[in-house]
Amino acid sequence: MLSINNLKASVENKEILKGINLEVKKGEVHAIMGPNGSGKSTLASVLAGRSEYEVTDGTVNYLEHNLLDMEPEERAKEGLFLAFQYPVEIPGVNTATFLRTSLNEIREHRGQEPLNGADFLKLMKNKMEVIDIDKSLISRSLNEGFSGGEKKKAEIFQMALLEPTLAVMDETDSGLDIDALKVVAAGVNKLKTENNAVIIITHYERLLNYIVPDFVHIIFDGKIIKTGGKELALTLEEKGYDWITNEHVALSNA
């Protein structure tokens, strides 16, 4: 479904991604871990199409498309979804109106009729059963004044509504209390089918107890330096990044 080849990207002439390789097949769950500043969010942003990041080398194929040639909205319409690490507050844009606009744009692309108000409300109610989110958030301005955890939950609620083919969750677990974490994880598991895929960016093994990844990748200084199964996350939790990064530095010096 997603095939990243030697992807390099810079911001303000500083190279941040230094040759990422990653294959994601449908039905898979991938976890990406790595120290602060190693390039995880940058990778997510490049996939979503943020223009500040200049791709200097490499290719990204997504569902037979050259992803890097597509506008951000086209990527979303093709089923790519990024749950932001820091969702932006947009005063004056009503959350419900936004959700309906977004959903109908995507439905139109899929050749589906736009949802009218009543059907949309029904769908929202349904999705609220999957992701338990405070109703009053929906009638407020988008993310404005939402608490850290509410913002993260709102992202996952959007994800539940839009039913993406490939979801990238950037530290969705950070800032969630344990109950919210369970809710989010249960939601993600419910949405998971053999036809879609999830990339989970996280610092903590605890989320991976609830959403079990098929692969864990460790990104360091703009490169994936180790890939393993779920047990890799456990090792990280115990030993920290030092043992891998030392190994990596030793290897590259050899």
Partner: protein, 445 residues
């Protein structure tokens, strides 16, 4: 009895443009528009002409007109009364009404009051223009220092006198509709007086709408409105201007005197006009006044809008709030000049001012100049002015949810403008203006 006429107006303007003013052989013509002119009226007008002669049309050398080239807009031969005024059809007027709004309606066509069948009988609140000039206390107040005020007093065509007696509430909004429709270069001047009595309340909506389809001709309107809000009164005052993007220039001056415990709220929505200058000058004559001034603008092509405000805090315990926001597209230009003067005695003043602009192109320009002059020590004042691009992070967020760039931009612009639109308390007016705005912002869903 005689009053100045068109030839004098053009003489005056021509002289003003040239910066040396000559009305040497000032011929005073008989003019049948003003039949009952009192001596005082003639005298006032003559002295106004003299004042204008001295002042001349302000050039860009003048600090107050630094960014607005009004002299250029005036370089034409103007007619004050079009030879043939097309009679407006009922439909023409209807197209300018606010759907669903029940209001008292006064229509001015090309500066002259015309009957509007439906509600023309019930204007005890409105008196005659000549009577006003003769009897009102129009001090030649500011026109000693303001050329356009002087020019208005000298040559004003017509106007409305609105008198809300003490202890009364105007039952429904008063809609003052100024329509221009002309096959000439037309110079229009209205002079209004709004007097809100003690403990009284009123809502007044003023609309300036150009129905001209002929782009060869311009209309320049120079208007003055004097407003008094008596003790404990409340005036909700809306003004909007639409259409006439390449054919209309206007200068609108509002002189507001507030007495104790009165509230004056002005909301100005500017979408039309090629060159527009709004001057709002508010003086607090008593304690406990509240002044709320808001402005909203969306400018395209080469539109130019200049909002000048002055709030003169002369008395203690008064509040003022100003919020002007706008979006400038293409090579449009804007000016915000907001002066807040807090005098020595005006303790416990709260004065807030904010001006926010989004520039959509590199060619659009905004000049924002907040001025706070504070001479009292126990006050809370703040001001802020921002001019920038649309929030790129927000734009990306919306696009990353499948919303096209164009629609996302529209959503963000609407969100930005909402802050002022939400201040419109009359639902019908709010919907009317929101629809016009949405059309302008190219919404197609």
């Amino acid at each position: 009895m005689a009053t100045p006429c068109e030839a004098d107006l053009n003489n005056a303007l021509a002289g003003g443009v040239e910066q040396y003013f000559q009305i040497a052989n000032f011929e005073i013509h008989q003019d049948e528009i003003f039949l009952e002119n009192s001596d005082r009226y003639i005298m006032l007008r003559k002295s106004a002409i003299a004042a204008f002669e001295t002042l001349g049309i302000p050039s860009r050398m003048s600090e107050e007109w630094k960014y607005t080239n009004v002299a250029k807009a005036l370089k034409r031969a103007w007619v004050q009364f079009p030879l043939k005024t097309e009679k407006l059809t009922e439909n023409d007027i209807r197209s300018c009404l606010i759907p669903g709004l029940d209001a008292h309606i006064l229509v001015f066509l090309n500066g002259i009051r015309v009957p509007f069948t439906e509600s023309d009988s019930n204007h005890e609140v409105v008196r005659d223009f000549g009577e006003f000039i003769s009897n009102s206390n129009v001090s030649p107040m500011d026109n000693e220092s303001d050329a356009f005020d002087a020019l208005n007093l000298a040559f004003a065509n017509d106007g409305a006198i609105i008198n809300i007696p003490d202890n009364s509430v105007l039952d429904k909004p008063l809609y003052l509709l100024y329509i221009s429709s002309h096959d000439d270069n037309l110079f229009v001047q209205n002079r209004n007086v709004i007097d809100i009595g003690k403990n009284s309340e009123a809502t007044i909506i003023e609309a300036r709408i150009s129905l001209s389809s002929n782009n060869d001709f311009q209309v320049f309107s120079n208007n003055v409105t004097e407003i008094r809000c008596a003790n404990n009164s409340n005036l909700d005052h809306y003004q909007f201007q639409i259409k006439g993007q390449s054919t209309t220039a206007s200068i609108n001056k509002y002189l507001v005197k507030q007495e104790a415990d009165s509230t004056y709220t002005s909301t100005n929505i500017n979408l039309g006009g090629q060159l527009v200058r709004n001057n709002v000058e508010v003086v607090h004559e008593g304690e406990g006044c509240e002044t709320n001034l808001s402005g909203l603008y969306h400018l395209i092509s080469d539109q130019h809008l200049d909002n000048h405000t002055l709030i003169d805090h002369k008395m203690p315990n008064c509040n003022s709030n100003e919020l002007y926001i706008g979006i400038l597209d293409d090579h449009s230009t804007g000016v915000f000049n907001g002066k807040v003067l807090v005098r020595k005695d005006a303790q416990k003043t709260n004065a807030f001012q904010s001006n926010k602009n989004i520039l959509l192109t590199d060619d659009a320009k905004m000049n924002a100049k907040p001025q706070l002059e504070i001479y009292a020590d126990d006050v809370k004042c703040s001001h802020g002015a921002t001019t920038g691009q649309m929030n790129q992070e927000a734009l990306f967020y919306l696009r990353s949810r499948g919303i096209s760039k164009k629609l996302a931009q529209t959503m963000l612009m609407e969100a930005f403008m909402k802050e002022v639109l939400d201040k419109i308390k009359i639902e019908e007016l709010k919907n009317f203006l929101t629809n016009i705005l949405e059309l302008r912002l190219n919404i197609s869903h």
